[in-house]
Symmetry: C2
Subunit: 356 residues, 2 copies
């Protein structure tokens, strides 16, 4: 930190993204919840023809992309905002709806960026502990003042709440916003997008980074009431109006035009998830009930840190978080069938080596 | 503004980007300082082969792009930060180096986003009036406390300070940062990048949007001391770590590999600028001395607003700002020779119509 850096950030602890080793080709990468599938050839070809002249500014309102998203989710275009990845729009929501007086409320175990967003915006926040079994209980958020952030499915657990439980939180206090971060919703969870027309105080955030195979393109979006979307766009026009570039925008439209490809990939990931969960349980692992493209696993036979390191030595990257409550666990992204077979085989090898 | 919106933004006035009419094809567009030339075919082809798999996250450190920029400007890679357009990195600089106690100092007539950045970050700011002739006087910034933001060349005037004058400001008070926004530097002004090794308190921001024909790709960067760059990256890792997507990053590397194309385009723009300035002066216009890809013009025969509207009626978009001090003036981007011939011809028509 330079001696010039504003004192307001003196306590800031930046987010640490998942490991991206430079010798990536050496590893099977199951640590950052990316898709094993590229965007479809059809989408790539279509995007090429849709990309606006690159010497011109991108459309700050991303009209075509916003329209395509609105059609996909059966809402009006002014109920959709787009962003440079969903982190950007989550940060906008922290900026708009939390401050020193109005705290952010989120789980103790959830997406690690939430406390960082709160800190960078000098907002108060409260951690609401998940239950012993890592489930999130709606009642813990009812009767408590503050803007709620719920990742559903949650990360790194993969566990999901039904819409009816989130609706209870939204309905109980309509004077505060509930942000539902649905980055992983397409892998078997229920989406809250349907609640957006009925409640003016819910914002649903999604991303093209997981089910839509476009993490490298950086495209996120949020769906909410006109008033909330207008707030988020006020923030955007006060920080970075041209936040979504022309190539990403065109790819977004093209990817939405090929939803069958996305759905087929999601089905494959869910099949591979079932396959991996079965294999791990047969080897005595605890695996939480995941509705995401990753699973959260632990074993009495090997600690989380040891499992992570043993995997890395054998060429497979998974993610381990050192925080006390989840230090025994590892998060494993669901990749191709071949990758998951390699993961299970390697798990067997690691356990066998313990017996030596 | 929704009833949920944080009170801290109640006075916020977002930035208003230049007009982007939906029936764009009807207009010769000289209102947003874009390049009339597309990125080179060579760069486009090279970028294609450099783009990392889109299903994987982009490199949060943008290592290849940062290296290419460092090589281009003869600095070390850890003296370079990249961003989603230069607006993002300017906002980061406002976040890092201004607050309620430490004001931002900038000209009364300059890039209209600076006061917005100050407001969204709840930072104090002071407007330092340009002299009567729109020149910026270094002495006005010396002996005054605060972080300095200077657009050089300035917008919308196009006028530039020599490096020696900016160096005086940087040197006079090495306990505060001077940010030099060089978005338009490649059209005949002197760059301050050479000062970066000698002074730890200067940050130079540039963009691919103007001379490098890549406004639609959204790519900005800043060059400064290691400590300053580390500060900016702390902000990035606390808001949006993957801020530059893989396609934009690859295009950036490819565009830098074809600098001869960029230089040739800049020469053409400067020639077209001379041609346009000559033509306007012959028709009695005042034209400020521009080192940018735009000119700032006024005439005793027609007001700024009237000139803007008469041009728009005739299919040419230029930019008019309603603020008192510059209400008589219009900013005209320099496009292709053909566009500038049309602009001069139309100017003649507009003046002739006044005589009827």
């Amino acid at each position: 930190m330079s001696r010039f850096f504003s004192k307001k950030y003196s306590m800031l602890e930046p987010y640490v993204p998942g490991e991206q080793p430079s010798d990536m080709d050496r590893y099977i990468k199951l640590n950052t919840n990316e898709s094993p599938f590229p965007p479809s050839d059809k989408a790539m070809a279509m995007a090429h023809s849709l990309t606006r002249s690159l010497q011109l500014y991108s459309d700050p309102d991303s009209v075509e992309l916003t329209k395509a998203l609105a059609k996909t989710y059966n809402v009006e275009p002014d109920m959709v905002a787009v962003s440079n990845g969903s982190d950007e729009i989550l940060n906008f929501a922290f900026m708009a709806y939390t401050d020193k007086e109005n705290p952010a409320l989120f789980a103790d175990i959830t997406y690690g960026f939430y406390p960082v967003f709160a800190q960078i915006n000098a907002s108060a926040y409260e951690l609401i502990p998940l239950r012993e079994d890592f489930s999130l209980c709606a009642d813990d958020y009812i009767g408590r003042r503050g803007t709620v952030f719920i990742a559903n499915p949650n990360a790194p657990t993969g566990m999901a709440l039904p819409v009816s439980e989130i609706e209870r939180i939204v309905k109980a206090d309509q004077d505060r916003i509930v942000v539902v971060d649905e980055a992983y919703v397409d892998f078997g969870a229920e989406s809250c997008v349907g609640l957006v027309r009925r409640y003016p105080n819910i914002l649903v955030c999604q991303t093209f980074s997981k089910s839509r195979s476009f993490a490298g393109g950086r495209l996120g979006y949020a769906i909410g009431s006109r008033e909330i979307i207008a707030d988020l766009n006020t923030i955007k026009y006060s920080t970075n109006p041209y936040n979504v570039n022309s190539m990403t925008s065109a790819m977004g439209v093209a990817i939405l035009a090929d939803e069958e490809y996305t759905r087929a990939n999601c089905r494959t990931i869910m099949d591979n998830r079932d396959f991996t969960v079965d294999g791990l349980r047969k080897m005595g692992f605890r695996v939480l009930d995941s509705r995401a493209n990753f699973i959260f696993v632990s074993s009495d036979r090997i600690g989380g840190g040891d499992f992570y390191r043993a995997m890395k030595e054998r060429g497979i990257l998974i993610r381990h978080f050192t925080r006390d409550r989840i230090a025994d666990w590892c998060r494993v992204s669901i990749g191709s069938r071949q990758s998951m077979e390699a993961f299970l085989r390697t798990t067997g090898d690691i356990l066998a080596a313990l017996d030596d």
